[in-house]
C-alpha cells in the first residue's frame, strides 16, 4: 500500500502540473489567437484547455487514492509506514484510525491537498457556469495544488518507510486527540482553510482576465459562504474540544494555532460584508480583491507560523522543517497577487463613491475596519514574541491577558456595528429613518442596562473583577439592542407581507425569509453572533474551586453542592482509568451524578500519557464543570477542581443559530421562482405589474 500511495502522489503531481502548465498555455493561446498573435485557431487552444481541465479532475482521483492508501495502512496496522507507526496502534478505535489521516504533519498536509483537489474537482465539473473564468480559476488552484503535492512528494512524505525492522505495534494516537470532536474538527477547519482558495482563485482569475462586471462575485458567493461556514464550525468545534478535554475550564487559549484559524475567519467575514458593496454599488473593488488575497495568504501564513516552529505552540505539529517551503510559497503567492494587481488596477475603478457617513456602505466600511484591526491585533500578538527576540534578544509570551484586554473592546465595537449596520439604508439614511429604526433598540438597551444594574451587576461594587464585569454589562446591553433591532426588522417586514397576503404573523415571517433568504439569513447569523457574545460575556462570572475530597466530603460552588461518594478504578484495552463519583445537588435537590476521569494511556506507547475526561452538567444558565486532577500522593485522596461557568451553553447555541442562518442565506429565493411563473403565465406582454406584490422579482437576487 505505501508504494501505491507514493505512486498516486507522483501521479497527482504530474496531472496537477499538467493542468497548471498546459491550462495556462491554453489560456494564453486563447487570448493570443483572439489578438491574432498566434496562427493556431482558438478551437485548438480550447481543446488543449479541455485536456488540462480533465487532468485536474484526474488529479482529484489520484489524491483520493493517496488518502485511501494512508487510511488503509492505518486500518491494516501497516507499521512499516513511519507515519502510521507514529500515529496509530493496534488497539486504537477504528474511528480514530481514520482520524490518523490528519493527526500528524504529513497526513494533515495530504488532507489539505486532497480537499483542495476536491474543491477543484467541483469547480472543474461545474465549469459551464463561466468556462473561461473557471479555466483561469482552475489553473490558479492547480498552482496551489502543485505546491502541496510537491511538498508531500519531497518535503513531508506520508508514505516514508520506517527504518529498521517493522514494529509490532505503533506509538498510538495522542490521547488528547481521542475524542469524537477530533474526528470532525480538523477536516472542517481544513475545509474552511482550503475553501478560501476557491474565491481567491476566482478573484485572481477575474483580475487577470479583466473580467467585466461583478458576476465572479455571484459565482463565488456560495463558495465563500460555505467555506466561511466550515471555518466557523471548525473553529468552534475546536473550542468545544478544548473545553471538554483539556480540563482547564476554558475554550480559547489564544495559542498561535488557534490564532492562525481566527485570522482568515476575520478577513473572510470582512470580505463577505464588503463584497456586498461591490455587488450593489460597484464600490470597494480594490479593497475586496485585497481582502480575499489577504484571507488566502493568511491561511498559508498561519500554517507557516505554526508548522515552521517560528512561534511556540502547544499543538503537537508546531515544530517541523517545512517552514522554508511555506516561506517560498507565500512569497511567490504574494508576488503574483501584487504583480497582477499592479498590472490590472485600472480595471478596479469604483463606479460609485460613498455619499454619506450615515449609510449602509459606511457601516460596512467600519465593520471591515474593526474586523481588520482585530485581525491585525491577533497577528501582531502572534508575531510579537519573534519581533521581541529580534529587537531585545529575548522572547516574551503574548498570552490571554494581552488578547483579552485589546480584543474585548474591539469585539464590543463590532457588536455595536452588528446592530446598527442593517438599520441604515444604502447611500444615505434620513434623520426620520434613524429615529424610526433606533428608538426601540435604544429603549431596549437602556432598559437592559437599568435592569442589570438594579439586579446587581454593578461593576463599581465588583472590586475583584471590575473591568470584566463592566465589559459584560456593556456586552449584555448592546446584545439587547441588537436583538431588538433584528426582531424589529423581522416584524416590520412581516407586517408588509401580512398586508400584501393576509397571512398570519408566523407565516408572514416564513414567507418574508423565503423571499429574501440572503438578507434574513444574514440577520439570523447576526442573531447567532449576538447569542455567542452573550455566552462569552458570561465568562466574567466564572467561579472555580479546588479540593481534596474524601468519601462523604462536600464542595459548594454557586448554587451547587457536590458530595463525593468515592473513587473507582477501571482498566481498558488502551488505558487505565480512575474516576471520582460526585453527587450533585442544587438547592437541596439531587440533580445528577458526575464522574470526572483521569486516564493513563499505555497501549503501544513507550511511556504513559495522562488524559483528562471532564464531567459536565450543562444548563442554559451555567455549566458545572468538574475535573479529576489526580490523587494527592501523600493522602491518596482525589483532587477535584470544580468550575461554574455561566452562559457557556449560549456560545454553542449561537454557533447552531449561525449555521442555520448560513443555510438560509445559501438557499435560493422563493420569490423569484413564484414571480417568474406569474410573469410567464399571467403577464403575456411581459409588462409585469410593478405595483403587484411580486415587484421584488424584477431585480434578480444572487
Amino acid at each position: 500500500m505505501p508504494e501505491f500511495g507514493s505512486f498516486s502522489l507522483l501521479l497527482a503531481l504530474i496531472l496537477t502540473a499538467y493542468n497548471l502548465v498546459i491550462g495556462g498555455l491554453a489560456l494564453w493561446g486563447g487570448s493570443a489567437s483572439g489578438l491574432r498573435i498566434t496562427r493556431r485557431p482558438e478551437a485548438v487552444w480550447n481543446r488543449l484547455g479541455e485536456t488540462a481541465r480533465r487532468a485536474g479532475i484526474a488529479s482529484f482521483v489520484a489524491l483520493c487514492c493517496a488518502a485511501f492508501a494512508l487510511v488503509w495502512a492505518a486500518f491494516t496496522n501497516d507499521f512499516s509506514v513511519e507515519y502510521i507507526r507514529s500515529h496509530s496502534n493496534i488497539a486504537l478505535n477504528p474511528a480514530y484510525k481514520f482520524a490518523a489521516l490528519w493527526s500528524g504533519q504529513e497526513g494533515s498536509l495530504l488532507l489539505w491537498a486532497f480537499l483542495l483537489s476536491a474543491y477543484g474537482f467541483v469547480l472543474r465539473v461545474r465549469h459551464r457556469v463561466d468556462v473561461r473564468l473557471s479555466a483561469f480559476a482552475s489553473v490558479i488552484l492547480s498552482g496551489i495544488q502543485v505546491f502541496f503535492v510537491l511538498l508531500l512528494c519531497v518535503g513531508a512524505p506520508p508514505f516514508s518507510i520506517a527504518p529498521g525492522p517493522v514494529a509490532v505495534d505503533g506509538a498510538g494516537l495522542n490521547p488528547l486527540l481521542q475524542y469524537p470532536e477530533m474526528v470532525m474538527h480538523p477536516p472542517l477547519l481544513y475545509l474552511g482553510y482550503v475553501g478560501f482558495s476557491v474565491p481567491f482563485a476566482f478573484a485572481l482569475g477575474a483580475l487577470m482576465m479583466r473580467y467585466p462586471g461583478e458576476k465572479w462575485i455571484h459565482i463565488t458567493r456560495r463558495w465563500t459562504m460555505v467555506t466561511w461556514l466550515f471555518l466557523t464550525v471548525g473553529i468552534f468545534m475546536g473550542a468545544h474540544w478544548a473545553y471538554s478535554v483539556l480540563g482547564w475550564g476554558g475554550y480559547w487559549g489564544w495559542d498561535p494555532v488557534e490564532n492562525a484559524s481566527l485570522m482568515p475567519w476575520l478577513t473572510g467575514t470582512a470580505f463577505l460584508h464588503s463584497v456586498m458593496m461591490q455587488e450593489k454599488r460597484g464600490m470597494m473593488k480594490n479593497w475586496n480583491v485585497w481582502l480575499i488575497f489577504s484571507t488566502f495568504l493568511l491561511t498559508i501564513l498561519g500554517t507557516l507560523l505554526t508548522r515552521s516552529g517560528a512561534v511556540a505552540s502547544v499543538h503537537a505539529f508546531a515544530q517541523s522543517a517545512i517552514g522554508a517551503w511555506f516561506y517560498t510559497f507565500i512569497v511567490i503567492a504574494f508576488a503574483v497577487c501584487l504583480f497582477t494587481f499592479l498590472l490590472q488596477r485600472d480595471h478596479l475603478k469604483s463606479e460609485n463613491k460613498l455619499e454619506s457617513l450615515v449609510s449602509r456602505e459606511s457601516s460596512f466600511l467600519f465593520n471591515n475596519l474593526i474586523l481588520l484591526v482585530a485581525c491585525f491585533t491577533v497577528l501582531w500578538g502572534t508575531l510579537f514574541p519573534v519581533l521581541s527576540e529580534y529587537v531585545q534578544g529575548s522572547k516574551v509570551t503574548v498570552g490571554a491577558p494581552f488578547y483579552n484586554r485589546v480584543n474585548i473592546p474591539i469585539g464590543l465595537f463590532l457588536l455595536f456595528l452588528t446592530g446598527i449596520g442593517p438599520l441604515l439604508a444604502w447611500r444615505s439614511t434620513s434623520l426620520r429613518s434613524i429615529r424610526r429604526n433606533f428608538i426601540l433598540p435604544s429603549v431596549a438597551m437602556a432598559a437592559t442596562a437599568i435592569a442589570l444594574l438594579v439586579g446587581g451587576l454593578r461593576p463599581w461594587n465588583d472590586g475583584d473583577d471590575m473591568q470584566s464585569t463592566l465589559f459584560s454589562l456593556v456586552a449584555f446591553t448592546l446584545a439587547a439592542g441588537v436583538i431588538t433591532a433584528i426582531v424589529e426588522e423581522f416584524l416590520r417586514g412581516a407586517k408588509v407581507v401580512h398586508t400584501q397576503t393576509g397571512k398570519n404573523l408566523l407565516s408572514s415571517i416564513v414567507l418574508l425569509v423565503r423571499r429574501n433568504t440572503r438578507r434574513y439569513g444574514g440577520y439570523i447569523i447576526h442573531f447567532g453572533i449576538v447569542v455567542m457574545f452573550i455566552g462569552i460575556a458570561g465568562g466574567a462570572f466564572n467561579q472555580a474551586r479546588e479540593m481534596e475530597m474524601s468519601t462523604g466530603s462536600s464542595l459548594d460552588i454557586g448554587a451547587y453542592h457536590l458530595v463525593s461518594t468515592g473513587m473507582t478504578q477501571d482498566s481498558k484495552a488502551e488505558y487505565d482509568t480512575s474516576y471520582a463519583v460526585l453527587n450533585v445537588y442544587r438547592n437541596g435537590k439531587y440533580v445528577t451524578q458526575l464522574a470526572p476521569e483521569k486516564r493513563i494511556y499505555f497501549a503501544g506507547t513507550d511511556h504513559e500519557q495522562a488524559s483528562t475526561i471532564v464531567a459536565l452538567h450543562s444548563t442554559a444558565q451555567s455549566d458545572l464543570y468538574t475535573v479529576f486532577e489526580g490523587t494527592n500522593p501523600d493522602t491518596g485522596l482525589p483532587i477535584i477542581k470544580a468550575f461554574l461557568n455561566p452562559l457557556i451553553a449560549w456560545i454553542w447555541i449561537g454557533v447552531a443559530i449561525v449555521v442555520l442562518g448560513t443555510f438560509i442565506a445559501l438557499a435560493p429565493n422563493l420569490v423569484r421562482t413564484i414571480v417568474r411563473q406569474r410573469q410567464e403565465d399571467l403577464v403575456p406582454a411581459g409588462a409585469a405589474a410593478l405595483g403587484a406584490p411580486g415587484v421584488l422579482a424584477k431585480v434578480p437576487h444572487a
Partner: protein, 178 residues
C-alpha cells in the same frame, strides 16, 4: 432675592462648548476611574493569571492542570509568599522574571519595547478610524461637488424620465436591499 444661576436650564448651555467640554471631561473621568478600579483585583488571583506555568505547557499559572506538573505547585507557593511580603505587583513580576525568564509573564509588561505590543494595536485602530472618516468625508465632498455640477441631480429628473418610474425604481431599490 437674587435668582440662582442654573446654566443647564438654558438652551445655549446644551449646545455650547462648555457643555461638550464637561461631557468629554466626565467621560474621561469615567474611563480613568474604570481603569483605576480595575487595579483593585484580588492580587494573588490577578497576578496568578498574568504569569505562565514554566513547565512548557503554555498555560496560565493558575489554570495549569497537569497531573504531577513539576512546576505549578511550587510557583503558586512562591507567588503566595511574594504577595505576603507586601511587594508591589511590578516587584513580584520582576522577581519571577529574574528567576524564570521573560516568558514567565503572560503578556509583555516589562516596559521598553514591550510597550510596543500594547501601543501598536491601539495606534492602528485610531489611525484606521481617523483614516476611514477622512476618506469617507473626502468621498462625500467629491460626490456632492459632482452632484452639484451634474444636470438634473438633486431632485430634478433627466429629460424624458417619468417621475413614476423614479418612484418605482426607488421602491425596487428599497425592497431589494439587503
Amino acid at each position: 432675592m437674587r435668582k440662582l444661576v442654573q446654566p443647564w436650564r438654558g438652551k445655549q448651555f446644551w449646545r455650547g462648548p462648555v457643555f461638550w467640554a464637561r461631557t468629554v471631561q466626565t467621560a474621561l473621568l469615567c474611563i480613568v476611574t474604570v481603569a483605576m478600579l480595575g487595579a483593585g483585583q484580588s492580587r494573588f488571583d490577578h497576578l496568578g493569571h498574568e504569569l505562565m506555568c514554566s513547565c512548557s505547557c503554555g498555560q496560565i499559572l493558575l489554570e495549569c492542570n497537569h497531573v504531577g506538573c513539576p512546576d505549578s505547585a511550587r510557583m503558586i507557593d512562591e507567588l503566595r509568599a511574594q504577595v505576603a511580603t507586601g511587594n508591589s505587583d511590578t516587584q513580584i513580576q520582576q522577581w519571577f522574571v529574574t528567576k524564570y525568564g521573560a516568558t514567565v509573564l503572560a503578556a509583555p509588561m516589562r516596559g521598553g519595547f514591550d510597550n510596543a505590543a500594547w501601543i501598536v494595536p491601539i495606534a492602528v485602530f485610531l489611525l484606521a478610524t481617523v483614516g476611514t472618516f477622512v476618506v469617507v468625508w473626502l468621498w462625500k465632498r467629491r460626490a456632492l461637488s459632482i452632484a452639484g455640477a451634474a444636470p438634473g441631480f438633486g431632485g430634478e429628473l433627466p429629460a424624458g424620465q417619468d417621475p413614476q418610474d423614479a418612484v418605482l425604481r426607488e421602491r425596487i431599490r428599497r425592497e431589494t436591499e439587503y
